[in-house]
């Protein structure tokens, strides 16, 4: 019996082995979406917990990596929905970029605010496609949508961000 068959049968050692093989991949995917290491660790545990509970639904000859990434994406998206009211992004992963002098500190703050205001499903694809430059096919498979829909969401997210940045600029202009 191979590892995945043993996992489906409820063998805890097989599950531990799969966990050790895939935890980095799952964590890396989640941290790219939620951008906070402590939350990503919690969500990684939650992902594998859900995987363990629904092991009987997994086909032993299936792609465990793809299945776990799909579950991880759903859990990360749920987290974005729940934490939408938080107005500031967690900043423990905001490493200093090579700063573009044309983009001021104030502008960066405005972009973050506009980004946090995006609906979660748009925020998900915007993070993965625009910031992390993940291939559209990869995003589509993980989110359970078509590549065409990923493209649509990326363009809509871009439009929403532009609109929000304009209105934020107008507000600041009116205040000063």
């Amino acid at each position: 019996m191979d590892l995945q068959q043993r996992f489906v049968a409820g063998d805890l050692e097989a599950f531990e082995q799969l966990f050790r093989d895939y935890q980095r991949q799952v964590y890396a995917w989640i941290v790219r979406i939620v951008r906070d290491s402590a939350t990503s660790e919690d969500l990684t545990v939650e992902t594998f917990w859900r995987i363990y509970r629904s092991r009987t639904l997994f086909r032993p000859d299936g792609n465990f990596g793809a299945w776990s990434r799909r579950i991880a994406t759903n859990i990360a998206l749920d987290h974005l929905r729940k934490s939408r009211r938080e107005t500031e992004l967690p900043n423990d992963l905001l490493a200093p970029p090579e700063p573009d002098p044309a983009v001021s500190r104030e502008m960066r703050a405005r972009i973050r605010t506009a980004f946090v205001n995006l609906p979660p499903k748009y925020r998900l694809v915007a993070t993965l496609a625009l910031i992390e430059e993940a291939p559209y096919e990869e995003i589509a498979a993980a989110a359970g949508i078509t590549v065409a829909l990923v493209k649509v969401r990326v363009f809509r997210a871009t439009r929403m961000l532009r609109k929000q940045l304009r209105s934020l600029s107008a507000e600041i202009g009116a205040q000063s």
């Binding site: 805890l12 531990e16 966990f19 050790r20 935890q23 980095r24 964590y27 890396a28 941290v31 790219r32 951008r35 290491s37 990503s40 660790e41 990684t44 545990v45 594998f48 917990w49 363990y52 992004l89 992963l93 905001l94 490493a95 200093p96 970029p97 700063p99 573009d100 983009v103 502008m107 960066r108 703050a109 972009i111 973050r112 980004f115 915007a126 993070t127 496609a129 625009l130 910031i131 992390e132 430059e133 993940a134 291939p135 559209y136 590549v147 493209k151 990326v154 363009f155 871009t158 439009r159 961000l161 532009r162 940045l165």
Partner: protein, 106 residues
Amino acid sequence: MNREEKNRASSADATPQDRSDLNEIKHLLRQAMPPVLPHELEPHIDLWPQLRARIESQHNTVHAATNVHRESPGIRIAWFDWALAALAAAALIFFPGIIPALLYHF
């Protein structure tokens, strides 16, 4: 073809204005929220102990629930119900002729 080129190729059906907007927003986003650094793509601690504790706690809860179920009394049936059932069984055994009559009425 790298990731960026792949994504650019797949958005080739967008208008030049859309593409210019996309590139500008992308640049701004990456300035405000840079990509996660490679060394941040790994958990800081081993997550297995947390997960194992969760699995074990669920197993214990399930076992406790099973034991409670085993110890709990079954459905209680009053003595006169047993007496009625015995009388009916005796009638069927000693007077089998009533079976067709009962079947006719039911």
